[in-house]
Subunit: 327 residues, 4 copies
């Protein structure tokens, strides 16, 4: 049994706590949150106790799940590592590459497992696609197209402290690109604009963007993002390889289709990220529990978190300067 302490009782903390509670091999022992009501409610729902971060780190829990605000992640990872706990931290480690570079050696020195919660790797569709790629179904991958579009932009107040679209939204796609291609990217070029909401532009960010990247061996990845899609939460991957193509599409709300004089109409796609990735979040936590049980090193690792952040930083810089950035 893996005994967890959960730091952060917000939206994602709750999703993960439910997965742990439903596992036959893990349990939630403690919950900490700056908002007492949130901590109490979550603790009650999974039979855990409310506590403080310090007390949890000092307790006998085996693992710490970090689901607190982003700017606390790196500090908490270091504290948990020093306390000898295995760590599952929501992405990102930090919006700053430098901060991650300082954090990871602390974890390494402590010798504890650190897994970063890039949930999309665990989506059954994307995971199946990646497995089929690795199994050679389409030969060598040459060209990857990643499309991510949110249903609607977040408030400008969120945008302002988000680190920008490349660090906040496209970070998932950078990780997915590395996950799929299995090589590092050496060239990054980004384009962007505030086409959805001018206020986002005024805040120094973009809401519509594209990035193209290339590995040393020549493999190309193209990513496009929009902060608004009227038809739902659009999440697609397409891989072109020497023997064929593999792609993963969206999940429609229902399989119902109509046909009238206006044409054939299929349902909109799922539009809330937690609904869309409910299976992914569960698989992510269970993968961590499996790794704890088997003694294997869980991935995505802290290094994966660092590399994705480096790409986000390169893209941010490229968009700002208008030039190509070498990583």
């Amino acid at each position: 049994m893996v005994k967890f302490g959960i730091l952060g009782a917000g939206r994602i903390g709750k999703v993960h706590a439910a997965t742990i509670a439903a596992s036959a091999r893990a349990s939630v022992a403690y919950v900490a949150d700056a908002i007492p009501d949130a901590a109490n409610a979550l603790a009650a729902s999974v039979g855990a106790k409310v506590s403080t971060i310090d007390a949890i780190l000092a307790s006998d829990v085996d693992a710490i799940l970090i689901a607190t605000p982003t700017d606390t992640h790196a500090d908490l990872i270091e504290q948990a590592a020093r306390a000898g706990k295995a760590i599952l931290c929501e992405k990102p480690v930090s919006l700053s590459v430098e901060r991650i570079e300082a954090c990871l050696p602390v974890v390494e020195k402590a010798g504890v497992p650190l897994m970063i919660g890039f949930n999309r790797r665990f989506d059954p569709n994307f995971a199946s696609l990646q497995k089929r790629l690795r199994d050679g179904e389409i030969g060598d991958v040459e060209l990857v197209t990643i499309i991510s579009r949110d249903p609607a932009p977040p408030p400008v107040s969120y945008i302002e402290r988000s680190g920008g679209l490349f660090r906040d939204m496209m970070i998932h796609d950078f990780d997915m690109a590395r996950f799929l291609v299995g090589e590092e990217f050496v060239t990054v070029h980004a384009l962007g604009g505030a086409l959805v909401d001018k206020a986002i532009g005024t805040a120094g960010d973009v809401d519509t963007a594209s990035v193209q990247m290339q590995t040393a061996s020549g493999k190309i990845v193209v990513i496009t993002n929009s902060r608004r899609a009227t038809y739902g939460y659009d999440q697609r991957l397409e891989l072109h390889g020497s023997k064929g193509m593999l792609r993963a599409g969206n999940v429609h709300m229902t399989t119902v289709e109509s046909a009238t004089a206006s044409g054939f109409n299929a349902d909109v796609i799922q539009n809330f990220f937690i609904d869309r990735y409910v299976a992914a979040y569960a698989a992510e936590v269970n993968t961590f529990i499996d790794a704890m049980a088997s003694g294997k090193t869980p991935t995505p690792s802290g290094h994966d978190g660092l590399q994705a952040q480096r790409l986000a930083e390169a893209a941010t810089k490229s968009r700002q300067t208008g030039e190509v950035v070498r990583v």
Copy 2:
């Protein structure tokens, strides 16, 4: 809070118990099963006590969920009704129309709610389709095509006590036909054969069948069934109406698609009925709980169970005699 006693701790009993346990408005108080280990395991998983049927009926539970073998349903419904309990009974009430006709007046006299577990009405896809039909999206329905194909035939030993394909498998489609068309059928004609497994024919049943039925107003429903589909559990509906068509398709295992020199390949469809209808089973139980809470009469009712069984009986007779049966 609706307090449940669950009779039957098998496959479906477990699915329903989990839904009740997860509901904020209901709980499982007691579980009974002829197999003590099954009862114990289920009771433990939902925080209930193991008991006997008689004791549960004599207890303070509000509702009885009947998930025992088919041949016990009618007797248990009558006992539960006499005990004044609300009843959610897995389909069918009985394989015998006469037995159902005897049972329902007992329920009526007792004045308790009785809901029959035709799970497919609660599938989000089919429920959405039916709602859109009722909302007038395709005008008046004229022609309905229902396709149901199981992944693989059950053992002949099961077939022998199943009541035959029309009562055991197509019963779901008869209920769906009534649910969609909203009228009773007056003409039934069935065809069938043992094309999948000759042993099924030797046992007096068929594994491949079609039925066409018509209402007094002329609406037509065509149902086809097969006990075997190599590509999964095939469950489709198509409605043709005066203003257009509505249909609900299958659920694929993933959204992954490949394209190679062999063409474009999409994943097989879900092939286990509990996976396919997991959301339907939950919605079914929650509908019953809602009805209990609001005092509304839940459907599908005992009468719905009776009418579906009458169609199954008519189809069975039509297939055996080769003639059209008027209902």
Copy 3:
């Protein structure tokens, strides 16, 4: 070079004449039509001469293409056969089974080839499906679903002399059923109603119908027809076999798809039968030309025409009597 005389310069006569004119192995020598302008226009467009039926039959043409009104087909087939000409006749030979039974021996005695223009056998989609079935891709066929829906009903004046839906519209599906299953049907049951237009019912016909048929070996075919489909000319086949399923879908007007808050919208399907089957009509005529060149017997044969008509007659009788008809 196969030299053709074309009888009938209407819609289908024109389509076939263009195919013959475009063939490197055939030419149109003469055209006859009761309407001089129609004959002149068609003759001019393919470099042929206008003539009379008698003169054409007495000429040196190798083959007669009959595209005149249905009630003249049987007589013209007999005349052409006696004149020693190969014959390609639009379906049907006659609306009367008896008349066909009288006609075919005349053809047989004359020893001339007779091909009946069931165009759908030559549709590239349906032909590919049938070939893949014959090649064993889905094992033995067990269950066939045929859906045919016209965009809009013809005028009642047409209905009145059409022979009824089963002879006029479903005749294509009866031929397709035989083409796909490769066995004769022994049981026919039909349902129908005038749900689209009551005037069609007053005229003694139906506009919505279903037929289920079974072969001696147990194979089942289900056909549904409607005289009206708001979304286009709906033409689909689905075959269920021991190793899987094969189906052929509709052809959309374009491949354009939109996605908005209203869902995903694909274009309507082709809605004019000549557009939908343009490739089929050409392949039909070229098959006849090939057969002439190679000395092979072309199919579908006169016997195929007879058998389809027998099914149409059985279905008509079944619908009228409400009983099953044995063929």
Copy 4:
């Protein structure tokens, strides 16, 4: 009647000649080709005479269709312009931007119409998509994804004189980008590699490439190309706008789909460009004929040809230098 002289009796010349011959408003008067047999065969098939380029330009033809090798286009356009003929020239005007810049003023001075044969604008699917975009169906376009993949790379000998992938293959996508977005691009960045065939790299070209471009107003277009796709000739467009998405997909060989234990299989897509764009080629020529008849200026114009070539040149330079190119 528009009287045409056709220069070049190759693959495309033949396709266009057939369209002209089938038009009620145009005819082919003369054909010229360096290969006498080709000229003779084509002239015979459309009832035209074989002649020389000079004689055709001196004749009474109204229009010249240029379908000769690329390196002759600019010279022939100038000659035809000076002869006062309307001109339909296959793309591109020249592989050299400078040469086009020199050529267009000659046309302008002569005051003759010049249309460049970017066939894809006339594909019914793409044309419908563009019309729906212009009609406002998805609001303002923000992000465009263009995917073009050839079935197989051409011989290296062809590659060597092709001007490179961006001028030879992606040129179509550059034109499509301008056609769809309706604004000029100011920033171009290209990536590329020889991932399909190293010999293509040795010849100084790439076979796999991506380009991202942005207009002054911020609209982004992403193009990916591969010289090889195992599943056919892949040609797709996707537009993301403020109100939704519009996309145009591929055309499958048939509508047949199978379902087996291996999943659901749809046919490969059309894989020969002339088959895929047969309707587009005809619509292109008919658009030119319409413009001649109505006195309207046909598009795409010489300026469109120039602008596409400028993007191709910018992309070539970007790929070679690794830097962003401002246009």
